[in-house]
Symmetry: C2
Subunit: 241 residues, 2 copies
């Protein structure tokens, strides 16, 4: 086992079977995995993180996950460890499984609306971070269109968070991309701050989210993200951005 | 209002506000709307169907639903009528709202697995019915691949239905496409029946689903589907197949 422990992130041996904890297979800085980290934290689940290099996925991982979806949540059950994919499905699972604080609304209509907004967000952000590769300008139509939808939604809800008086599922599902958006402040602070008045509710929401304990636990600084996304190697990961 | 009633399907006037019933905006023969009809029926919800011609959508519908998603479920609330989109989100909403018989598993892991299978099915069937336009051969790789996944899943569950001893959410979510697949029997009965042994569990499942009261309520015959899909006009709808 010591060999395995030394080579933890790239070694050919799979990690041991789980006992009580959950295990998240995660690519560092990946926003979809970031979603799951936030929900694991919000639900106070017991978990460990197994970091994967998407450019060097171990064989045992490939054989267990032939579609190579990341993140993956490994769950200990009486019938052995089981796996779940797709960040939204994983997070909804955690929300149902760990009753403590429910993140989705208890009103089925509001929950359905939030799921539609999460799906809409998923569609809009596809590839939106790749633009950081060649163009760090805070002006991509895709980003503006997305912020506009969520600005209006927050204004119409009239609450501090999408989830009401505290962050809920929708807040956490969109947060990883918004946290990364602040890297644009490293590019041009004045230009970034000038845009605040276009999205006043959303800007306030962002300020408050940054103070949330769950968010703080898994946050990176704008400079960290800037350094990460300007790194050419990052962009060879394409799909995993 | 009589003008409206005469012109119900194409008229320029929107239907009246709802009182107690739900209203489904549906395109005849559309499999996504078929999903919602099955769940409305399974949950014994009170509903009416408003049929739309996708090639002649009324202006009021376009303005209320700028993304032109169909089906749409209209829901009466204290704040006026509200709308939900996306068949899977609508069906999950109905399952939560109408507690009577729960269609999703109460086990969060099984529910999550079923959601992944529904998403996988959604990906695989995209465009699969368009193949009926030029090629009514029961051999498209996409269809075989899909049937194979569900054959294996059913075998591993060892139950009559994906939902266990009765149809559940996953059964109803995939049924509309499977019901349409039987039209291939009109093309070549012998060839269709010969394929049965490749998918024995799935074939038995199909036989049983056809006897389900919910399914029977909204079924069409293989000949109806054959006539529909060989009609060139159908294919101008593209997206709505």
């Amino acid at each position: 086992m010591s060999y395995y422990q030394q080579e933890r992130h790239v070694g050919p041996m799979p990690p041991p079977a789980l006992t009580d904890k959950l295990r998240l297979y995660h690519v560092d800085m990946n926003p979809y995995g970031h979603r799951v980290l936030l929900i694991l934290e919000a639900k106070k689940a017991k978990y460990e993180v197994y970091k994967l290099d998407p450019l060097r996925l171990p064989e045992w991982f490939r054989s267990k996950n032939p579609r190579l979806k990341i993140p993956v949540l490994e769950i200990p059950t009486d019938q052995g460890d089981k796996y779940l994919y797709e960040s939204v499905v994983i997070c909804d699972y955690l929300d149902e499984k760990y009753g403590r604080v429910q993140l989705h609304s208890r009103d089925p209509y509001v929950k359905a609306q939030d799921r539609l907004l999460i799906e809409r967000f998923n569609e809009l952000i596809k590839g939106s971070l790749e633009c950081f590769d060649t163009n760090f300008a805070f002006g991509s139509d895709q980003i503006i269109q997305t912020l506009d939808i969520f600005e209006k939604e927050l204004a119409s809800r009239g609450t501090n968070y999408f989830g009401g008086s505290r962050p809920g599922m929708l807040d956490y599902m969109i947060w990883p991309w918004v946290e990364r958006l602040y890297l644009l402040r490293c590019v041009n602070e004045r230009k970034f701050d000038e845009k605040r008045h276009l999205f006043p509710n959303f800007a306030d929401w962002g300020d408050q989210m940054q103070l949330d304990d769950v968010v703080k636990k898994h946050s990176n600084s704008p400079q960290d993200y800037f350094d990460y996304y300007k790194n050419a190697r990052t962009h060879t990961m394409g799909y995993y951005l």
